[in-house]
Amino acid sequence: MQLALIALFPLAGAVLPLIAIRAGRNACTFVTAAVSSIALLILLANAPAVFGGATVRSGTDWVPALGLSFRFFLDGLGLFFATMILVIGLLVIVYSRFYLDRDDPMGRFFAFLLLFQGAMLGIVTSDNILLLVVFWELTSLSSFLLIGYWSHLPEGRQGARMALIVTGGGGLLLMAGMLLLGQAAGSYELTEVLQRGDAIKASPLYVPILLLVLGAAFTKSAQFPFHFWLPHAMAAPTPVSAYLHSATMVKAGVFLLARLWPVLSGTELWFAIVATTGLVTMLIGAWIALFKDDLKGILAHSTVSHLGLMTMLLGFGTRTAVIACMFHILNHATFKASLFMSAGIVDHETGTRSLRKLGGLARLMPISAVLALIAAASMAGVPLFNGFLSKEMMLEAAAETSVFGSVWIVPAAATLGALLSVAYSARFAVSTYLGRPRAALTKHPHDPPFGMWAPVAALVIPVVAIGLAPQLIAGAVVERTALAVVGAATLDFHPLAIWHGFTGPLLMSGIALAGGLALLLLHTPLETLRHALPRPDAKAMFDAVIAASVRAARWSIRRLHNDSLPRYLAVITLTILAVGSAGFVTGRHDAGLRAMLPVNLPAAVAWILLIAASVAVMLFHVHRLLTLILSSVVGLIVSLTFMQFSAPDLALTQISVEVVTVILLLLALNLLPKITPAEPRLGRKLRDVALAGGGGLGAAALAYAVMTRDLGSISDFYLAESKPSGGGTNVVNVILVDFRGFDTFGEIIVLCIAALVIYALLSSALEGAAARRLDAMRQRNDSADAHPLVLVVAARVLLPLAITVGVYIFLRGHNQPGGGFIAGLVVATAIIMQFMASGYAWSAEQRRIDGHRLLGAGVLIAAATGIGALLFGHPFLTSSFVYVPVPLIGDVELATAILFDIGVFLTVVGTVVLSLSQISRVERRAKRTPAPVGPSDIPLVPRAPLQPRPAAPSAQEG
């Protein structure tokens, strides 16, 4: 049976309650319970194999390169926890049906609950430690949703946020710890990691691994000093507390410690940290629990205390302690979950959870009271209930432990913990159910409906049954679980028994019971004592830390993100410079050995021109038109450079792009200010010059260093295969349309997106503030000669010529310099010339196809060519070609790559035409002259003196 389903079923099933709630609350509960039950059935189907001693594994690879796999396994420990999660989950689901109010969105509650259940099951069954981290974080997220379920309550929101920050932060520690653990172990599969305990303990990474993993476990299991989030999480609905904060989520930390016990335990460091933290947490939790008046507050701190007890047992590092810990996990889950549910019943029936108001409920609600009293007795460790047995075993393990050469410290502290536990349990039971009511209650309490107390009863039955016949009921489970924890084939397992004779632990138990009851009588003076002692408020500290980090974040945002693009770019440039310089300083600086090419005269002249134009741009860049002209000089020299160094395709592309870019910038400049305000601050100028100079120096040095070294290239393949398999002799073009056609396909899509964004940006520019500004420009920007006759005629004559040239360049592209990109630019330039010469409106009228269609057609043709290859069983964009004999001309090559190139051509034309025509359209709004009405705007008769424009042109033109 697939183990993955155990976790995935509840995760996927989380959508069902949201749908089922439409059919009513009972249907919703039923569906949720059914999901859990199916997961439980799958789990139990594997139980016989696990009890036979086998480890069930299943799953598959996920991201093998990262060591991440989707594998699950089930052994005694996993089975134990998974059963607990599912069984208590089912009881909580039934209980919630009656607990939740009519106004509470039940579908959402059960959806969150199933999400959490799936995540928890994932933790306890993952075989891969990275997968475990994923589920671990999922429990933090889903518990956040559950704790904050009543999102209208501020305590709910704050408690949820605090739990998320603490446990989510612990999850980050876990991720780091697991990555290191995988490195130290050489595998990320848990089953393999567990075999390599000795190698991990010997590894230098052991200490960081231990600290990180313990950080995760302690935050999740609310160990001191991270214990503060659990009481605040009590703002959650009580079923959530019963489920998450007694039986499941907080036990995940203990589970992690148990799971990695064979790998991490047994060292002095482990004992020192884990046992001490557990002991301290046990005492602090119990001490605070004694003074809480809120029922759930007592239970929360008691849970903290019991979790400390479990952590301490694991910290001892002995096998007897592990057995005691596993037994106590089972017992604690039963009595604590039932106590939480009982507290919920009290809250539900009386409207309060305060011990100061409650009392005497035993007479009003006898069934619930009996159940709660039994569970509380078990929590106190009264004989004949299950809590007594595991507490006895804990005391026994503590009695065997010595620290600092003293055999007294640990047993004494453990007895004190047990004593406090008796005291608060007794206070909980006595103040709630015995005596008489302390305050007038608004409601008249009575026993809740059967569905609400039945789950409590279902948990109290094992409390009594295990207490009376421990070995019969729980012996096999505890032994199997402990075997899995220690990772051994056999275990020195004494049958669980009630009576061991008169032993040390029995004496300690007796002291605890008597002392605890005595302590209860001293409660009032003790409370005075507690008020006299310093009581650090964890929430205030937590809030202070959060507030400080928010302030630090705000401060750094203000520093870095100060509304200044120049500042950001300066920071980026500086960072790149710093990184580059660091690399340069620490690297080697041998001179390159490649022979240099001799300088020739034209190159020297071009270089001088380039430097002169560049420096002039730097000096005079406030004059924008001049800058534009100078930069086109630079562009021209760049394209000559390509020409010089055997790159005719690049030269052609560069020069045609240059033309289009200059036209574009001219069009834009027409609407923008013609002068850039000069930078007044000298310091800033110097800073910019220094940054720019540093960057330039770096780029030059890098380029020089590379060019003077020899090259190992993969291009021999392209040169050799261009003709035989690509069918063309222009290798650059064959690479573009064939070998790396997928890249080119991506490029034309980028072009398309750019064109569409431009269209979107400008299509709305004729409304609102932009339109008013354009209107204002219209009055300023008067030009007498909008469309000079010479330009109009020249452009008309050029159009067919340019299109012919474009077609020629396109057709020869596969074998000679040329191709779709260049041809597209040439044709686009010719079309744009019409806009320039005759205005937008005239050209728009003449044009039969618009930019959008060109773009769409281009990409679709290119894609269809690629998909065509798929139809013939070749990979996407594989090209093929045939030679067709044509009389007189000879063999003519027909290649599918030509089709692809047509797509490129159309996209380029579409992009250029669409973007530039959009700009001219906006420009027209600012123009003085009325839109021409005829086919040409060359007037045959001199136009009458300017007349006032009738109205603003509509925004819908074009």
Binding site: S564, P598, P648, A703, L751, A755, L762
Partner: protein
């Protein structure tokens, strides 16, 4: 020749960076075109310089320059046009919308914002 090309790349980078750090949008656009020149030349130079060895397969010729950087640069040139066009239009729309080309707010405006953030 390599020195000329390398120093040319350096100067183009310098002008590009200088203009990009400017406080107004138009010089930044010109700056990006200069940076595009520099980067395209730089990428092209990664295939090393050679003269009269165009990668057009011809009978009897065995020595060609590296075609791969050329193919990469060819698309890069076209894409940088697309980028320039987009940035120009962004700047244009921004100017039409706000009436200013400035890329940073003044000191006074910044301080006011900071004060507002403190109060929050």
């Amino acid at each position: 020749m390599e020195i000329l090309v390398a120093s040319g790349i350096g100067v183009l980078t310098m002008v590009g960076l200088y203009l990009v750090l400017s406080r107004h949008s138009f010089p930044v656009i010109i700056g990006t075109t200069f940076l595009s020149y520099a980067v395209n030349l730089f990428l092209f130079a990664m295939g090393r310089l050679s003269i009269d060895k165009a990668p057009i397969i011809t009978k009897g010729v065995t020595d060609y320059t590296d075609p791969l950087p050329q193919a990469l640069v060819l698309t890069a040139i076209v894409i940088s046009f697309g980028m320039t066009a987009l940035v120009v239009v962004l700047a244009l729309r921004g100017f039409l919308e706000t009436g200013t080309e400035r890329l940073e707010n003044g000191e006074a405006h910044r301080r006011a914002r900071a004060r507002k953030a403190e109060r929050r």
